[in-house]
Amino acid sequence: MITFDEVVKVFPGGSAAVDHLSMELPTGKITVFVGPSGCGKTTSLRMINRMITPTSGRVLIDGQDVTAQDEATLRRGIGYVIQHAGLFPHRTVVDNVATVPLLLGSSRREARRAALEVLERVGLPQSFADRYPAQLSGGQQQRVGVARALAADPPVMLMDEPFSAVDPVVRESLQREFLRLQAELGKTIALVTHDIDEAIKLGDVVAVFREGGRLAQFGTPRELLERPADAFVGEFVGRDRGFRSLSFDTADSVPVRPPGDAAEDGAELVLDPAGRPLGWLGPAVGSPATPVPTGGTFSSTDTLRAVTDLAISSPVGIAVRVGPDGAVDGIVRHHDLVDHLASRRGRSGAERTA
């Protein structure tokens, strides 16, 4: 657990960059610091590994004040990932990753072995080990940056916009792998981003900062989306936060009907011999000669957001559910979905007042 206790940071000649920050980052979870530019996210993060010293207040890791330890020793026990990776250009990938194990006194051989192992973990093949950073793509460099922070297996990781320097497709895959890795490793992670989508996707808990280095809200992504503390947070998490919050419910709560019920909407779902959907026929799609594709299907493990999206984008306003074998096992009509959303709204309203 990382504790901020009334932490204040005022840079010389500036106003407060961090203003009376108090919060607790839970052990083994990802806490995301999010907020507009200049609101003190990086400053807060860097006070954890003493790259910045608080003006007043304390930062504690598992109850121990970070200033109680020698600063180099403290930092060797905390993984640190920065934007653009900050790799050592004069060292090979494997030497970069072996840095902290070597600082901690591992032999060259051990450090190299640990480095190769962790490179594999982050999805970089052995053939990259002896390359120099300049010979890697931005996404690969970022992976090496993560590997370097993980090499000595620190319990705590600090990550400052680790995925911001790459294109959206690469970012998506890095984020997915990061979550998979975290599921295995269970580190206590503080991650800075200014992207609210990233915060919601990656965070177990999210700390929303506002200008002047104040904490606007601290809670789970769901709480943020469904119960923003104030107008600032509501604005910050965005206009389509309602739609986004549908990601937190799975589709298994949605009532389905037998495929034949589509007839009520003037549509007929055509199946192949194995029961898989071929497409729609009937007046609802203009009575074509060949079936119009469904545009996608969902299974009960998908999110409510996926079902809603399918229902909206479907040519007939009907989302199609399939079982594990790909065969159709039910449909969700637009109207039914709206009713379901209304009842869901009623439930969460009841929770709120409870």
Partner: protein
């Protein structure tokens, strides 16, 4: 041009006093000592200033001051103060070496990507480790540039040693001029130029072997260990 002096085998007899090989050797000796002393002074100062950012005016102004200082004038001043001998020559040449090495060391250190240095500290390197394992190797290409230009300048300027009665290739120039023996002057000029070229090539090879290929963008075909910290 008369090259008879240069190609007379008698002048290449290493055993004969004042022969070209002997002059070459003393010339190299003065130059090497001046480079050694100059680097011993300028390198640590440049690293310190670059690492801490303190006293940067010194590094910047050293370059300008150094360029405007006439070596011959300085040498004469030293001789007046200290008398004839090796010391005044070494002082004058050392003063020549300091500015390029100091300025390039500082420039090399300042050109470093701040986020890399930040990462080094953030991973728990102590200041000396940051300096030796990260900043110095990264600054090496720029630093070597300064060292090479210092070496060329010293080789060219070490001819002044002859002006105060010492050896070195300057002997050929000064004696040749005194005796109106232009063949001898030519021999001196050619040997100094050749020495400078050979030395620069040699330093170029050394630079290639000590600067990480990761910094030069050279394609890395062969496996190689990280440069010594």
């Amino acid at each position: 041009m008369d090259s008879s002096y240069l190609f007379d085998p008698e002048h290449w007899d290493p055993g004969a006093a004042g022969s070209i090989p002997q002059l070459l050797l003393s010339h190299l000796g003065y130059s090497a000592l001046a480079l050694l002393f100059g680097t011993l002074i300028a390198l640590p100062v440049g690293l310190f200033i670059g690492h801490t950012g303190r006293g940067s005016f010194l590094a910047i102004n050293a370059g300008n001051a150094g360029r405007s200082l006439p070596t011959l004038g300085l040498l004469m001043l030293m001789v007046t103060l200290l008398g004839l001998g090796l010391t005044p020559v070494l002082i004058a040449l050392t003063v020549l070496v300091i500015p390029p090495v100091l300025t390039s060391t500082y420039a090399g250190m300042r050109s470093l990507d701040a986020s890399v240095v930040d990462a080094a500290r953030g991973m728990g390197m102590r200041p000396s480790q940051v300096l030796l394992r990260v900043e110095f190797p990264m600054a090496l290409p720029v630093l070597m540039g300064g060292f090479r230009s210092a070496a060329l300048q010293v080789i060219a300027t070490a001819t002044v040693a002859a002006a105060v009665g010492l050896g070195g290739l300057g002997r050929l120039l000064i004696d040749g001029l005194a005796l109106n023996d232009y063949s001898r002057v030519l021999a001196g000029a050619v040997v100094v130029a050749a020495l400078a070229i050979v030395l620069d090539l040699l330093l170029g090879l050394i630079q290639r072997s000590i600067v990480s290929p990761g910094l030069t963008g050279r394609a890395v075909r062969t496996r190689r260990a990280a440069p010594a910290p």
